[in-house]
Symmetry: C2
Subunit: 480 residues, 2 copies
């Protein structure tokens, strides 16, 4: 439920005094696009949306909010899936601080494989800037055309290339952060290796805006791969897919840049986006595998030989190699169509589970069985980043179910899936974070000592509890 408090003229004038009129929106029309998330699932309220145009303006805004006792919600591209950057549930008003006007790439240093950017830079622009210098910035998400690097850092974003290059955390060399008291902590260095004491940036990465506002990010670049090979495979089972993954890690020398699994039941979703999509294979389980390397390696022969062996061992029942970049893109459009197709179906249960890689088949089997037994009219969809143990097990309501009822059922289905993943020792959030949609179940699952440490960090860095309240923590009262 969204509770919206009006902003007083005095507060508005004070905010405009710091940020100028163009830096503050407090009317419904001006705020609208900052208050709904990408999925359409969540809409929030805000006293105002602040749009600082410089790091100094972020500092000034944070100081003023501190003085006024205003809660602050830092916001990047607002493409997150857990309502981490919109105020969907707190009982008091807050201001959204959008970083979108801090959108300069500060440095592309291909000699040192380093790039520095403002937090508000769109991920795709950073990838393009890297590519223009024959480099790769490997973070790759469906939302890369609109998500921002600051949000990627704050949420420790994942995506399809984690297997090879790691999460956002692994790609970040330095951060610049405005602390809750408005002070600027700058941790840019351009150094690839630096072991001077506590690595403070680690605290802010993945903290979802609860400890400060990231204003700049320094990342690692990689040589742009000279070759990429992509294949779309059919397999008999998820067990076979996991066995194939293990053999691929060894056989393909960790040149695998993506290893996605898709249950064949998901194909209908992809066709919602493009009715002409035809899966390249017919099999219960599909695998999209991508290798990448320098031009000096005969990557195609490597992949062909590896797949020939897997087919001979009956591990792979069908395999189609992309003969062109266009065909590879067509394979990827199937994978990406799943997410878009789900969104077209409106509200649905969306999870982001991880387990030990070897437990993936069990997770999917138990989750399917649970849905079949208890919610047989719902449609389960299993796909994900198998190499990371990360499965998006999503469940679509029947088409004729009205939304209030489907949401109520969705809560129960989600809880059932979380029970399954918890019993397997897995995680309810492999990459999406906690935000406001998962904070209660997250908090409930923590050990007392873990809870105490998390709360102590929060209280130490944000003693007044003004940074993104309601996100990560169920309420400030439970933190202390």
């Amino acid at each position: 439920m969204t509770i919206h408090h009006g902003i007083s003229p005095d507060v508005l004038a004070a905010l405009e005094g710091v940020l100028g009129q163009s830096g503050v929106a407090a009317d419904a029309a001006g705020m609208a696009r900052y208050l709904g998330d990408w999925s359409g699932d969540h809409h929030g309220g805000a006293l105002a949306v602040l749009k600082p145009a410089s790091v100094a303006e972020v500092q000034a805004a944070v100081r003023l909010c501190g003085t006024l006792g205003l809660a602050m919600i830092p916001q990047g591209g607002n493409t997150g899936l857990v309502a981490g950057a919109i105020d969907i549930g707190t009982s008091r008003g807050a201001v959204v601080i959008s970083l979108e006007r801090l959108n300069s790439i500060r440095l592309v240093d291909a000699d040192n494989f380093i790039l520095q950017a403002d937090a508000g830079c769109i991920l795709q622009h950073i990838k393009d800037a890297a590519e223009s210098q024959d480099c790769l910035f490997p973070l790759a998400l469906g939302a890369q055309g609109s998500c921002q690097i600051g949000g990627n850092a704050a949420s420790n974003a994942g995506g399809v290339n984690v297997l090879r290059y790691g999460m956002a955390r692994d790609l970040i060399v330095g951060l610049e952060v405005v602390l809750p008291d408005g002070e600027l902590w700058s941790g840019f260095s351009g150094l690839r290796k630096d072991n001077r004491g506590y690595d403070l940036k680690q605290i802010f990465i993945g903290s979802e805006g609860t400890l400060g506002i990231i204003t700049g990010v320094e990342v690692k670049l990689f040589p742009k791969p000279g070759r990429v090979e992509t294949a779309y495979l059919g397999l008999a089972s998820f067990e076979a897919a996991i066995t194939l993954f293990r053999q691929a890690r060894r056989g393909c020398s960790d040149l695998i840049s993506a290893f996605e699994i898709i249950g064949s039941e998901c194909m209908g979703l992809a066709r919602l986006v493009d009715p002409n999509i035809v899966a390249p294979v017919t099999a219960p389980v599909h695998v999209l595998i991508e290798l990448s390397s320098s031009a000096a390696i005969d990557l195609r022969t490597l992949l062909v030989d590896f797949l020939a062996g897997a087919i001979e061992k009956h591990l792979v029942t069908d395999a189609v190699l992309a003969e062109s970049g266009a065909q590879a893109m067509a394979f990827w459009s199937i994978r990406e169509g799943l997410v878009e197709g789900q969104a077209k179906r409106g509200y649905h249960v969306r999870t982001d589970l991880s387990v030990r890689i070897s437990d993936i088949p069990t997770l999917i089997a138990q989750a399917r069985q649970f849905v079949a037994l208890e919610h047989p009219d719902w449609l389960p969809q299993a796909y994900g980043h198998a190499g990371d143990g990360n499965i998006h097990f999503n469940v679509l309501p029947p088409l004729d179910l009205a939304e209030p009822e489907s949401r109520a059922r969705g809560v129960k289905i989600t809880a059932g899936l979380y029970d399954i993943v918890n019993a397997l020792g897995g995680s309810i959030s492999a990459e999406h974070g906690i935000g406001r949609t998962r904070q209660r179940v997250y908090w409930a699952g923590l050990s007392p000592v873990h809870r105490r440490l998390v709360g102590a960090l929060k209280n130490t860095l944000d003693p007044n509890g003004l940074m993104n309240p309601g996100c990560l923590f169920p309420s400030m009262e439970t933190v202390s």
Copy 2:
């Protein structure tokens, strides 16, 4: 200076009550091997050495020390180079808590590429356990035969394979830590990807025992490379070496597992260890390059072709490819001989600098010029992990200089080298940490806001300041 306080019979009895007689040493003979570091540079004092045999005993010991107000110094293999695990300078006595009896490998899970071990496990034993399952644990240091994985985690150890596999931080999936109040925080999960809120393990990695005692470490394994190719190269300059590195990153597809540079002046040191060592090349700058991959890649052709191109461009003046594992080991023994050779020379200035990779030639040129002008009788030695921007620029005193005087001069030389690296925006500690030998210069170089954050973390997690006092922080008084 070492100040040793005797331990009172009551305190000794209380410690023995918790750990048994075999778990406590308080006599000079029993404590000796825990009080001097590997380099022989530093000797510390302690009230007692505690040797808990289980995690529960670590907890009990920490609780008792808390009650008694005893400072605690966690200690792994004691192979660090910055006196992080011995009490060389504090004015009050402390107990050393050795983790050596916690030395079981708990789990080797090759299916999920995960290994779990007690903190006291020797790194080499972990590497061997991984290899026995056809896996690689890539952390590789000169001290791997005696350093412990808990110390590797606490110091965020580096080494020769950082370029490919990262620092200890990048290899750690989970930690188990006894907190300063004796509570156990357990962060083992077996998950490759988990984005549930603050990543607490990051706080303890690299904290050098100042925030708790690591009792268990969970690490990533990799497929054991089926092929390794090693070459020893001669180049005209460090500039050429950096250019070669950049081209190698692109040309060899990030299959480079090591790229070490060695100034030819260092050869005399290697010969102190083995007088028969002959450098395979004659050139001002030597490069030891290692590639590794699965057996499916023709790595030798890749390396030969790459080097042929580099020779044609006159970037490499001489190249010798290892024709056997034995020859590759001989190349490595030159590199490793540098460290041992220096140790044989006794006290010397030992640094661990990092700069942007492109600044390496400038760093070395300025450092050499400084020594030549101001300390012309000292011998500079430049070598290091060039791909990480990490240079060990060490300086050996003249053979006829008495140690008290050489140490006094060494302080000045170190300060001069730190001035040079600071002016280049570099780090005084690329991988060795801060410990007790660098804590003043570290602290002096921090911005006020960084200092405040570091102090706040320490005060929050260790409010009584009992964990490894004197390490990282110049004194507790300056922290608050």
